[in-house]
C-alpha cells in the first residue's frame, strides 16, 4: 500500500507541474525530440521557420502522392516557390511563409 501511495503522489506531483508547460515551451524533433538543454527548444525563429517549412514541403509538396515527389531540386525550386506563392499546395498563411523561407534558405529562390 505504501508503494501505491508513493506512486500516486509522484503521479499527482508530475501532473501538477503541467501548468508550467504553456504552449510553445518544449523541445522535440520531427516526431523524435530535439537537442535542448531546457524546456524550450532553444531554436532561433529562423531555424523554427526552416523546420516548419521543411516539414510542410515533405508533407504537401514532395510526398509520395505529391506533384514533386523526388523532383524538388535546384532546377525546380523556383517553380515550386512560385506555385506556393500562387496558393497551390493547400498551405495556411504561416505555413506558406515557412515553406518560402525554407526554399530561399535551401535553394536561394
Amino acid at each position: 500500500m505504501k508503494t501505491a501511495i508513493i506512486s500516486a503522489a509522484l503521479i499527482a506531483m508530475a501532473a501538477a507541474s503541467v501548468p508550467a508547460e504553456a504552449s510553445g515551451t518544449r523541445g522535440g524533433g520531427y516526431g523524435s525530440g530535439s537537442y535542448s538543454g531546457n524546456a524550450s527548444s532553444g531554436l532561433s525563429e529562423q531555424d523554427k521557420l526552416i523546420r516548419r517549412g521543411k516539414s510542410q514541403v515533405r508533407k504537401r509538396i514532395t510526398c509520395k502522392k505529391c506533384d514533386y515527389h523526388k523532383r524538388l531540386n535546384d532546377k525546380t525550386a523556383a517553380e515550386v516557390a512560385r506555385l506556393v506563392r500562387t496558393g497551390k499546395f493547400d498551405l495556411k498563411e504561416q505555413d506558406r511563409t515557412a515553406v518560402l523561407y525554407f526554399l530561399r534558405d535551401r535553394y536561394g529562390v
Binding site: E21, G27, Y30, G33, G37
Partner: protein
C-alpha cells in the same frame, strides 16, 4: 429462434476479432499514409485505439495456434509494406549511413550537411540527404546497426523498401523466437500489437533489432554461452541502451561476459580504426541535451533543473535497473521489460518506438503497464509540428496528450502494483507442523577448549524439545577442543579446511538422517542455550521454515559486540531487505531451520558468508523466515576477528560479496557445479575462527 452465443463461443471468436482489428487498423494507417498531408489526429487515434483494443481483446487469451499468430502477423507487416513513413523521418539517416559505410567505410565523424550539393554524392542519395534530420550532427547509431544499414543499402540502394523488409523480417523473427518461450496466445499480444508493426515496418525504426538480438541471447542462454554473449553484445551494438541488460551475463559462465566484451569491442573497432570516431560526441549531445515527451523526468526537470534533473534521473533509473537485476531469481527470470520500462520512465526523451525495447519481454509477466504504454505513447506524435499549430512549439507534445499519457501509464503502473499486493496478500503459506521433531545441534568450533564443553552441556541441560544430538565440527583446532566436546557428550567430526561455512557443511553431512530441524549455535558461550526453545517453537508448530536469533532485538551484554560488528549487522540486513524485501535485523549464528528447507538452499559458502547466504537464499526461494530475540553474552576467550582490523574487513567484504553474488548470480546453477567449486573457495585471511563474531 436463435440463441445468444455462449461464453465459449465468444471466447473462440476473440482471436478472429483481435486479428481483424489488427489488420483493419494497419490498413487504415496505410491508407492514411498514402494521402497528401494526412491528419495526425486520425492517424494517432487509429494507432492508439487499435493498440488498446487489441490488447484488451487478447488479454484473457483464447484458442490460438502458432501458425495463426504468425500468419496474421505476416499479413500485418505485408500491409504495412505498402504504407508511407509519415510524421517520422529518421530513416533517411539510416539510408544515408548505410551508403556512407559502403563508399567511405564509416558513417561517423562527418555531418551530413557538409555533403549537401557535393558532386561526389549521386542524385539518388542527394534526395535522401535532403531530408536527413539534424544534418549538422554526425550519426549516433551503433556499429552493429551501421553494418546492417550498409548491407541493406547494398541491396536496396536509396529505396526505403529495403529497410521496410528488414524491419518486418526482424519483427517476425522476434515473434518466431517468442513462440519458443511463450504460448501462441501470449505471443499474439506482441505480434498483433499495431504499435509493433507501425514502429517497425511503417515508421522504420531499428529498435526491433536490439530486441531480436537480446532475445536470441536469452534463448541461447546457458547452453550456448559464447553465442549468448555475442548476441547480447550485438544488441548493445544496435542500441547502447541494451547495456542495461548486460548484468544478466554475470549469471552465465564467465566466457559469456568475455565473449560479449570481445564482440562489442570488435564491432566498435571496425569503425574506430578508421580514425573518425564511433559517434560518441553526438551520443553525448543526445544524452545530455535531448528532451522530448518525458514521463517522470518532467517532475525531476522542474524540481532540479535540466542538469541536476538528468543526473537524478540517471541515478534513479540506474538504481532501479540494478534492483530489478538483483531481485531476479535466475537467468531466465530477469525482468527486462521492467528494466527498460524504468529507463523510459525516467528518460528525458521518450518516443513510441522505444516500446520495442520492452514489449517482447513484457510477455514474461502478466502486467498491464506495457500495453497501456503502447496505447498511450502514440499520443506523442501529437506535436505542434504534426498538428500544424503555430502557437505551439513545433516539437512540444500537446499538453492534453501528454497528460493523457501520464494518466494511462501511471494508472496502469499503479494498478499493477495494487494487483501484485493483493495477490501476495491472498497467498498464505500453509502451516507445516512437525509432529515428531528431531533436532540436531550443529556447533562449529575452532580452538574453543575453554568453552565448548560448557556450551555442549548447556544445550543438553536446556534440553529443548526434540533434541537428539549435538555435533561439534572441529575446524582444525590445535588445542583440546575435540576432547572437551566429546567429554561433554557431543558427537565430534573434523573439518580441516578452515572456515565457518566449511565446518557447518561438514557437520550437516554428519547429521542423523532422521533429523528434521537443524539448530546452529556458537561454541564460545555467547549464545544462551535456554533460548533455543524459542527458536525451535515456530518451526515445530509449522509457522516458519527458518528462525534467526536476533541479537539486535534481544539483550546484548556490554562489550559482546564491537562497533564494526553492529554496523555490519545493520548494513547487510538492510541490503537484503532493499533487494529481496526480507526483513532481518541480524545475521546472528544462533538459528534454526527445517532440514528439508536447508537442503533446498544448496548452501555452499565455506566461511564468513554462510549466515548471510542462508538468509538471502531463504528470501529468494520464499521460505517463511522469522526472527526471535536472543541474548548475546561476551564470548569466552579473545575474538579472532574483531580483534584484528584485517579480520573485520575480510568478514565485512565477504558478506557484501555474498550479497552481490547472490543478487547477480544464479545459485542454483552454482549448485550444479558446487562440489567442484566448493573446495576452490578463496581463503580470506588465513585461519578463520569457526564461530566468532558474526
Amino acid at each position: 429462434m436463435s440463441l445468444p452465443p455462449s461464453t465459449n463461443q465468444i471466447q473462440r471468436s476473440v482471436p478472429a476479432i483481435a486479428g481483424g482489428v489488427f489488420l483493419a487498423s494497419l490498413a487504415g494507417l496505410v491508407l492514411l499514409s498514402n494521402t497528401i498531408s494526412p491528419s495526425v489526429g486520425w492517424y494517432v487515434a487509429i494507432l492508439a485505439g487499435s493498440s488498446a483494443l487489441v490488447s484488451v481483446l487478447l488479454w484473457r487469451g483464447g484458442e490460438f495456434s502458432a501458425r495463426a499468430v504468425l500468419t496474421v502477423a505476416v499479413l500485418g507487416h505485408v500491409i504495412a509494406l505498402f504504407g508511407q513513413t509519415i510524421f517520422e523521418d529518421d530513416y533517411y539517416r539510416f539510408i544515408w549511413d548505410g551508403w556512407r559505410v559502403l563508399v567511405a567505410g564509416t558513417p561517423y565523424g562527418v555531418p551530413p550537411e557538409s555533403l549537401i550539393d557535393d558532386p561526389s554524392v549521386p542524385a539518388s542519395m542527394q534526395s535522401v540527404l535532403e531530408w536527413v534530420n539534424y544534418p549538422e550532427y554526425p550519426t549516433i547509431y551503433g556499429p552493429a546497426l551501421q553494418i546492417i544499414f550498409a548491407a541493406t543499402s547494398f541491396f536496396a540502394g536509396s529505396d526505403e523498401l529495403g529497410l521496410r523488409v528488414l524491419f518486418a523480417g526482424s519483427a517476425l523473427a522476434v515473434c518466431a523466437l517468442l513462440l519458443k518461450r511463450h504460448s501462441p496466445a501470449e505471443v499474439a499480444l506482441f505480434a498483433w500489437n499495431p504499435v509493433v508493426v507501425a514502429e517497425t515496418t511503417l515508421h522504420l525504426h531499428p529498435d526491433i533489432l536490439m530486441s531480436l538480438f537480446l532475445l536470441a541471447g536469452l534463448i541461447a542462454g546457458r547452453r550456448h554461452t559464447v553465442l549468448a554473449g555475442v548476441f547480447i553484445a550485438i544488441a548493445a551494438g544496435v542500441k547502447i541502451v541494451a547495456l542495461a541488460a548486460w548484468p544478466i551475463l554475470l549469471r552465465l559462465r564467465p566466457v559469456g561476459l568475455v565473449s560479449a566484451l570481445g564482440a562489442l569491442a570488435l564491432l566498435y573497432s571496425v569503425f574506430a580504426v578508421q580514425g573518425l570516431g564511433v559517434g560518441l560526441d553526438s551520443t553525448g549531445t543526445f544524452a545530455t541535451q535531448w528532451f522530448f515527451n518525458p514521463q517522470a523526468f518532467e517532475l525531476l526537470f522542474y524540481l532540479f533543473g535540466p542538469d541536476w534533473g538528468r543526473l537524478a534521473a540517471l541515478l534513479i533509473a540506474g538504481c532501479l535497473v540494478l534492483w530489478f537485476h538483483a531481485r531476479a531469481q535466475d537467468f531466465d527470470s530477469v525482468p527486462l521489460a521492467a528494466i527498460f520500462g524504468a529507463i523510459l520512465f525516467f528518460a528525458p526523451a521518450v518516443n513510441a518506438w522505444y516500446l520495442l525495447w520492452l514489449l517482447p519481454f513484457a510477455l514474461d509477466r502478466r502486467e498491464w503497464w506495457p500495453y497501456a504504454a503502447s496505447a498511450a505513447l502514440p499520443l506523442s506524435y501529437l506535436t505542434g509540428l504534426n498538428l500544424e499549430i503555430f502557437e505551439m512549439d513545433e516539437f512540444a507534445v500537446h499538453p492534453i496528450a501528454l497528460r493523457a499519457e501520464w494518466l494511462v501509464i501511471g494508472g496502469a503502473i499503479l494498478a499493477d502494483l495494487l494487483r501484485k499486493r493483493l495477490s501476495s496478500d491472498e497467498v498464505r503459506a500453509e502451516r507445516t507442523p512437525i509432529a515428531s521433531p528431531r533436532v540436531s545441534v550443529v556447533m562449529p568450533a575452532l580452538n574453543e577448549e575453554r568453552s565448548v564443553g560448557q556450551a555442549v552441556k548447556g544445550i543438553l541441560y536446556a534440553n529443548p524439545r526434540g533434541l537428539c544430538e549435538v555435533i561439534v565440527a572441529d575446524n582444525g583446532s590445535d588445542d583440546g577442543t575435540a576432547r572437551a566436546a566429546r567429554a561433554a557428550g557431543a558427537v565430534v567430526i573434523s573439518e580441516v579446511q578452515r572456515g565457518y561455512g566449511a565446518a557447518c557443511l561438514a557437520a550437516i553431512a554428519a547429521v542423523d538422517q532422521r533429523s528434521n530441524i537443524i539448530l546452529f549455535m556458537d561454541a564460545d558461550l555467547s549464545d544462551v542455550p535456554e533460548e533455543a526453545a524459542s527458536l525451535l517453537e515456530p518451526i515445530i508448530s509449522g509457522h516458519a521454515d527458518m528462525v534467526i536469533g536476533s541479537r539486535n532485538s534481544g539483550r546484548v551484554e556490554p562489550g559482546a559486540m564491537s562497533v564494526p560488528q553492529r554496523f555490519g549487522n545493520w548494513l547487510a540486513p538492510a541490503l537484503v531487505r532493499l533487494i529481496w524485501g526480507a526483513r532481518f535485523t541480524d545475521l546472528g549464528p544462533f538459528r534454526a531451520i527445517r532440514a528439508d528447507a536447508l537442503e533446498r538452499l544448496h548452501m555452499a559458502d565455506r566461511d564468513f558468508g554462510w549466515t548471510v547466504e542462508m538468509q538471502v537464499r531463504a528470501a529468494k526461494i520464499g521460505l517463511r523466515a522469522l526472527e526471535r530475540p536472543v541474548s548475546y553474552r561476551r564470548r569466552v576467550g579473545v575474538s579472532k576477528i574483531s580483534g584484528t582490523i584485517a579480520g573485520v574487513f575480510a568478514a565485512g567484504w565477504k558478506i557484501l560479496f555474498v550479497i552481490g553474488r547472490e543478487a547477480f548470480g544464479d545459485f542454483d546453477q552454482a549448485q550444479q557445479t558446487g562440489a567442484a567449486q566448493a573446495h576452490s573457495t578463496v581463503r580470506l585471511s588465513g585461519p578463520v575462527p569457526a564461530n566468532d563474531d558474526r
